[in-house]
């Protein structure tokens, strides 16, 4: 009830006042974008061919995929922008209606386009409709920022992300293949979910992210430590790592293979691919009082032959 009502209200407001602004913005955006599209979505060497420009949506400047829409005057528009423009053609302001531009879809079928990660090193060229599928798995595609403490939308290649982690997230960088870290938390019983500061290790000329989190496994409070590799999955498999916690003549050791940062930290956590320590055990390892978490995690990274 309530969400529907508010959405309707918003829609009405933007209909009376917002459309001009939105369309103007879109046009400005479209004009300022060619530099980006020139380097990314459409290859420079194709820009002489006007057909490719026809396939660029005039609002978002992305390439259009079926269903491609047009207004009664023939101005084209991608399907996601069509939903946003309140049934008014952003080019001629005519009522948009619901007309599909099948001809352009068919033309696109005959085209070959470079991968959007051309500037990151991908040299492959694909039939128009295979391109998207390739780009989802292209090994040159950019990585998402591995920082887990907050949502971060930054993407880029590995050197860019390493700089970004250092500069923007103030992440600790360590050189070397062995480590010894202590995770401390007062009042551990009050915290069900926590993500500790990410640590990045620099070894073998590659970077590895050490994650440490508190979460609920079902109803059971646990801590988990695991490693992710800053690179693709195939390369990640060439490495192994171990993590160890212990005290009082006991120790728990995990040996594993780092996952690529292509897998989100949430995904790795949920697959339990790491060292899981039930809270009671972690507190037992922390010292006598059990009132504070002081868990020493030691570890090592090595390259498999």
């Amino acid at each position: 009830m309530a969400p529907g009502g508010s959405a309707l209200k918003e829609a009405l407001e933007s209909n009376s006042t917002g459309v001009d602004y939105e369309v103007k913005m879109a046009k400005v955006e479209a004009n300022s974008k060619p530099t980006k599209s020139g380097s990314g979505s459409i290859g420079k060497f194709h820009s002489s061919n006007g057909v490719y420009e026809l396939l660029e949506c005039p609002v978002c400047t992305n390439l259009m995929y079926p269903p491609i829409h047009q207004c009664p005057n023939g101005h084209t528009l991608c399907s996601s922008c069509k939903l946003r423009v309140q049934n008014t053609c952003p080019t001629c302001r005519y009522e948009l209606g619901n007309i599909r531009c099948l001809a352009l879809e068919k033309v696109a079928e005959s085209l070959e386009v470079p991968c959007r990660y051309q500037n990151l090193g991908c040299q492959d060229i694909f039939p128009y409709y295979s391109k998207l599928k390739h780009e989802q798995h292209c090994r040159f595609r950019s990585y998402s920022c591995p920082y887990a403490g907050s949502e971060c939308s930054v993407t880029g290649d590995i050197p860019t992300l390493v700089d970004h982690l250092k500069d923007d997230h103030k992440v600790d960088m360590h050189d070397g293949c062995t480590f010894n870290h202590r995770y401390v938390k007062s009042n551990p019983h009050e915290v069900e979910n926590a993500t500790w500061m990410l640590t990045v290790f620099n070894c073998f000329g590659r970077q590895f992210c050490l994650h440490f989190e508190a979460f609920q496994l079902g109803m059971a409070p646990v801590y988990m430590a695991f490693l992710r590799f800053m690179g693709d999955e195939n390369e990640a498999k060439k490495f192994s790592y171990s993590l160890e916690v212990g005290a009082h003549s006991r120790k728990l050791t995990w040996q594993g293979i780092p996952r690529s940062i292509r897998d989100s930290h949430r995904k790795v956590r949920d697959s339990q691919d790491g060292l899981i320590i039930p809270r009671n055990l972690a507190l037992y390892f922390s010292g006598s009082d059990k009132e504070e978490l002081k868990l020493r995690v030691t570890g090592r990274i090595w390259k498999e032959e």
């Binding site: 728990l252 995990w254 293979i257 039930p278 037992y284």
Partner: protein, 216 residues
């Protein structure tokens, strides 16, 4: 022979409820107090049968309990210096409390109980393997043991000190003093990948050793 996990299910939950708290050391030790106030050496106090999944009232010294375990509970004995057991759990999706297995291990002439148990840690299904020493706590501390599970390039290792069978196996389990494996990880390690979630086949390997006496 693959050890199979006994599926005692609800039965033993009821037994736990019926456990009368008189079994605590404090109260039972008073039994050994003679009318002349001579307190008997607590080390000579008989042990309870460590086969605690089902109610067993047998008590006695270690030799007697070993015979009892072999003859009455059909528990098998393995060499503790190096062992590898495969646990098969049919229908791991329906995990009940007190689904467990006991094996005896021999090391340096001493005997150890190796437990493998399925249980819920606050409703989360887990497996746990741990060892208990058939003898008193003081001597238990001169031993160490390790347990390891693995698969798919991963392995999880626990190294610990066996607890005396003076502690009930429930006490040890609840104190998490052993190798705890979540069901998800156990299935990931399950040796037979063809039968994915249908059946758990977990190989647990390990060893027991006597620590060198520490010279001070």
């Amino acid at each position: 022979m693959e050890p199979r996990i006994n599926d005692l299910q609800v039965e033993s939950r009821v037994h736990e409820l019926l456990d009368f708290p008189v079994h605590t050391n404090q109260i039972s030790s008073a039994i050994y107090e003679c009318p002349n106030d001579h307190i008997e050496n607590p080390k000579k106090k008989p042990y309870n049968c460590p086969h605690s999944g089902a109610k067993c009232d047998v008590t006695g010294d270690i030799q007697r309990l070993l015979l009892h375990l072999r003859n009455d509970h059909n528990v098998e004995m393995s060499d503790g210096r190096s062992f590898s057991h495969r646990y098969v759990h049919h229908d791991p999706k329906h995990l009940h409390h007190a689904t467990w297995m006991l094996t005896l291990l021999d090391c340096c002439g001493r005997k150890f109980c190796l437990y493998f148990e399925a249980f819920h840690l606050r409703k989360t299904p887990m497996y746990m393997a741990f060892m208990q020493f058939m003898g008193d706590e003081e001597e238990a501390m001169s031993f160490s043991y390790s347990l390891q599970v693995g698969g798919n390039g991963r392995k999880l290792t626990w190294q610990g000190v066996p607890r005396s069978i003076r502690d009930s196996h429930k006490t040890v389990r609840d104190s998490q003093d052993g190798l705890i494996i979540t069901r998800k990880l156990a299935l990931f390690f399950s040796t037979d990948n063809n039968t994915t979630d249908k059946e758990l086949k977990l190989k647990v390997s390990g060893r027991v050793w006597r620590e060198q006496p520490v010279s001070i």
